[in-house]
């Protein structure tokens, strides 16, 4: 049962203890051991069995964010006080427990991988679930990922059902709750199913616990793509500190030269869960990444703390003495055209071989990490995806040669923006779109196997009513503004609008249209944008 005043306090606390402060590597840990802190902080309610296992606590595994949400909930709802018996700070005691639980009762990399999107705050992701029952019983209120990023004993899954209905009694009254015996179905069907599919003990976890954990200090070549901004490359230098903490210096730029550079710190949970906090200009950024088992790569997303819709999907590749071509930006060239291409890599050495039909007109600049080339493609250059080689390093699928830009695809195909501001506690959530060009391929038909995805292109952007109702309600007028050059939609202010029919919110159901003029022809693509009301409760896993 929600309560706004309470929620505001909860949100504030969650924000305070969110992916930022709880994960900041500069925060010192508590002096006492985790077991001492558990005994001092948790044992008032949680008993210990003869084997030293804590009731409830020891029967669950989850991500660092999952443990953080649990501990913060204990603090808010049950007034738990996190105590360092050695006299240290309570927040430090809490951070120590998050680290301890994530390390000792976390998820194996392959258990976490299918649901990375929710940790990375990729909130326009549309989940697909095999089971209609799971979707309506669990994933109608929060993501399915929130559930599937947990492992529990059967008793613990059962306790979770009791917690849900005890804490949120209207769950069984809501749509997809009141159409069934919700509690009966949850206890009879859902609990055994989750216990079978997502048990506490798994081979994956046992193996990961036994596996050596990579050290993650070093110099990393960064490749990325930010929706709304485009390709990115940079360098990240990480320095080891105590307790799986790292210093982070991040330097890079977008394809248009604009820099994205700053510094901060990171902490690694569970041996691979990289969580960074960076200051870049005036903005605070989070890094949520996973390290590969060999420590050669970090992949994930770096997003703005206060506007997580803005984020860089990134891959950081550890620099070694080996020469390695990692990316070509942009990854496309028109047959018969000319382009500036940036070859991004590590220790790039030797001539660039772009294959038949692509000719280097000029090497504009060269460094060990980057080669800038002016390239011409013959009219007759073979259309398709091809490899590029620099010296001894081959990069398969490096670039797409295309002939004719036939259509546009708007990405994401479906996005949610949220009204905000206007005196309310929640900021506007923007919706960010890219126009992706496609070629229909040799057969000239869209939707066939030889279609070529070209890449992100500049476009003219507009919005239109999605349907008749949106026309009648003047959604285009009220819901917000689309930047015609950038594809960024900024929703309007929050709250009932007296100028609108029914004084309703500035919600809207819009078609997003991207268009590009090519040789006198206009090609167009569209997507779907729902502008809706604020989210009041924004924990690290939604």
């Amino acid at each position: 049962m929600l309560n706004i005043g309470r929620l505001a306090r909860v949100s504030a606390l969650l924000a305070l203890l969110g992916t930022g402060q709880a994960f900041a590597a500069t925060d010192t840990p508590a002096t006492s051991s985790p077991q001492e802190i558990i005994a001092a902080s948790c044992s008032g309610c949680h008993a210990r069995d003869g084997e030293g296992r804590w009731f409830r606590i020891s029967d669950q595994r989850k991500t660092p964010e999952g443990w953080q949400m649990t501990l913060v909930r204990m603090q808010i709802t049950h007034k738990a006080q996190f105590i360092d018996p050695a006299g240290g700070d309570g927040d430090a005691a809490l951070r120590t427990l998050v680290k301890y639980f994530a390390d000792t009762q976390g998820l194996a990399p392959q258990e976490r991988a299918p649901y990375s999107f929710i940790l990375e705050q990729e909130l326009n992701t549309i989940e697909e679930h095999d089971s209609e029952q799971f979707r309506s019983m669990c994933a109608r209120c929060h993501t399915g990922a929130r559930v599937l990023l947990q492992r529990r004993t059967e008793d613990e899954w059962r306790n979770l059902v009791h917690f849900h209905l005890g804490q949120f009694p209207t769950a069984e009254y809501q749509m997809m709750g009141r159409d069934r015996d919700w509690l009966g179905e949850a206890l009879r069907d859902v609990v055994p199913d989750l216990a079978k599919k997502y048990p506490l003990q798994t081979d994956a976890w046992t193996q990961w616990q036994a596996a050596p954990k990579p050290a993650l200090a070093g110099r990393w070549r960064v490749l990325g793509y930010m929706p709304g901004r485009g390709d990115f490359s940079g360098v990240m230098v990480t320095g080891a500190q105590d307790g799986d903490r790292y210093t982070v210096v991040f330097n890079g730029q977008f394809a248009d030269g604009e820099a994205l550079s700053g510094s901060g710190s990171a902490i690694v949970y569970t041996g691979y869960e990289w969580r960074g906090t960076l200051k870049i200009g005036d903005e605070s950024y989070r890094q949520v990444m996973a390290a590969s088992a060999d420590g050669a790569e970090l992949t994930g997303r770096m997003f703005q703390r206060d506007h997580d819709e803005w984020g860089l999907r990134m891959r950081a590749v550890r620099e070694t003495p080996r020469s390695e071509l990692l990316a070509v930006q942009p990854g496309f060239i028109a047959a018969g055209g000319e382009s500036l291409l940036t070859l991004v890599g590590i220790n790039l050495d030797g001539a660039a071989d772009l294959g038949p039909g692509l000719k280097v007109l000029e090497e504009v600049s060269r460094s060990a990490g980057q080669i800038l080339l002016r390239v011409a493609a013959d009219d007759t250059a073979a259309v398709g995806v091809r490899a590029i080689r620099v010296g001894k390093s081959d990069l398969p699928d490096a670039i797409t040669v295309y002939k004719g830009m036939d259509r546009l695809q708007v990405e994401p195909a479906f996005a949610v923006g949220r009204v905000g501001g206007d005196g309310g506690s929640q900021p506007v959530v923007q919706a960010i779109f890219d126009a992706i060009a496609w070629s229909n391929g040799a057969d000239g038909e869209a939707g066939t196997q030889d279609d070529l995805r070209i890449g992100r292109v500049a476009a003219n952007w507009s919005v239109a009513p999605w349907n008749e109702q949106a026309t009648a309600d003047q959604d285009v007028r009220f819901a917000g503004q689309m930047d015609k050059d950038d594809g960024v939609f900024t929703p309007a202010g929050a709250g009932p609008n007296p100028e609108r029919k029914y004084q309703t919110n500035n919600a809207g159901n819009l078609k997003v249209i991207a268009s590009v003029d090519r040789d006198g022809q206009t090609i167009q693509g569209d997507g779907h944008l729902i502008v809706t009301v604020q989210r009041w409760n924004n924990p690290p896993i939604r």
């Binding site: 706004i4 015996d181 109702q469 929050a494 009932p496 029914y502």
Partner: protein
């Protein structure tokens, strides 16, 4: 008017019913805000309306004057604000304080004559809009959803109906409890004392023995030509018609193949005649927009009205919409004057809109002091001052 507390958002416009989720409460201490009811000169019977709003006020509205004549500040937090009247129409029994407490309030003096904290010890009890008073006024009933808050876990308990003695004072405890189905919202009591409860079906409970039967099969109908019925209501209305009524939506299939694409989506109502116990279910019109509450016009049972962003009037026999007007904002809870001439729209914000029942022309607004009514229901009754 609170901008952050609306249940209904544009999802509903897109054809989905907003869920019972947002229930807001603000702490409040305080007592009676004595009104001027006693100052009214006219002593003959007239229509009044009671309704609650934030922060935790019970309002008595003189409908003839279209004016709030008394407003009582109640202790604790708000929600849901469901109200049921005593037979003499002097005491309002309200469910509030985060769905947990019951107060029996003298609507003229604001004196709290009865109260019950349903949560006791390690058991937290929530009632979702379910409160009713026995015909003799001696008992008040709620449907309880208990959860035991154990030291390291919650344990959901079986749902039950609790019976309180209205003369038990300010720390009343149930005098009887009976096991009850889960997922109950609205309740009403028949003339013979039977308690009717709206849940997945409409159930009838004997309040002496607790014996419960299905009075009206709703989800358990098993009609091959109709989809599962959906009924969302926390607004007990209909008592001025001596009925318990709730709307449902369903798809009516063309044949046993149950093809949804060719099915007709309809609005219907389910009702219990509180005088006789007879039940009735009828389709009254096509499902074109979401409606939250509805009831028949007191003067003409063939005219059924529903409300959310529009006020709609249907001809039940013809299953046809007769008239529809857009409202200034959404209103959740409908009610009528006892003679059926006026419609009163409450819920959502903090004003009651008055419409002419014949023409659906707006006649005025009655402003409440304070915040949103949110999920509150209104009760209309006629009595002397």
């Amino acid at each position: 008017m609170c901008r952050h507390t609306r249940l209904y958002d544009r999802a509903a416009r897109a054809g989905r019913v907003a869920m019972l989720t947002v229930l807001v409460a603000t702490p409040l201490a305080g007592c009676a805000d004595k009104g001027d009811a006693s100052a009214q000169a006219n002593a003959g019977p007239r229509d009044f309306l009671v309704v609650m709003n934030r922060p935790n006020k019970l309002n008595l509205v003189d409908l003839k004057q279209r004016k709030v004549v008394n407003s009582c500040d109640l202790p604790g937090d708000y929600g849901p604000g469901t109200v049921a009247m005593s037979p003499d129409k002097r005491t309002a029994y309200v469910l509030t304080n985060r769905f947990e407490n019951i107060y029996g309030v003298d609507v003229d003096t604001c004196e709290i004559r009865f109260s019950a904290r349903q949560s006791q010890g390690d058991e937290r009890v929530k009632s979702i809009g379910s409160i009713a008073v026995s015909p003799d006024g001696k008992e008040v009933y709620t449907h309880q959803n208990p959860t035991r808050l154990l030291i390291d876990r919650y344990e959901v308990q079986d749902a039950r109906v609790a019976v309180f003695d209205t003369s038990a004072g300010l720390e009343a405890r149930p005098v009887r409890t009976f096991p009850a189905p889960r997922q109950i919202t609205i309740m009403a009591v028949g003339k013979d004392g039977t308690l009717y409860m709206g849940g997945r079906d409409i159930y009838a409970m004997n309040m002496q023995t607790g014996a419960t039967t299905v009075a009206l099969a709703s989800q358990s109908r098993n009609d091959p030509l109709e989809s599962l019925r959906d009924s969302l209501t926390v607004w007990p209305v209909g008592d001025i018609n001596d009925e318990m009524v709730r709307m449902y939506s369903a798809a009516q299939y063309k044949d046993a193949s149950q093809d949804l694409a060719s099915a007709d989506w309809v609005w219907g109502f389910e009702r219990v005649d509180l005088a006789t116990g007879a039940v009735e279910t009828k389709v009254f019109g096509p499902l074109e927009v979401v409606l939250f509450s509805g009831m028949a016009r007191p003067s003409d049972p063939n005219q059924f009205y529903g409300v959310l962003t529009q006020l709609k009037k249907f001809d039940v026999a013809a299953q046809k919409e007769l008239n529809s007007v857009d409202l200034e904002h959404s209103y959740y809870c409908i009610n009528f004057s006892t003679d059926g001439s006026e419609v009163y729209l409450a819920g959502t914000f903090n004003d009651i809109a008055v419409y002419d029942a014949d023409t659906l022309k707006k006649l005025g607004n009655i402003a409440l002091q304070g915040g949103d009514m949110a999920l509150a229901n209104s009760r209309v009754f006629s009595r002397a001052l």
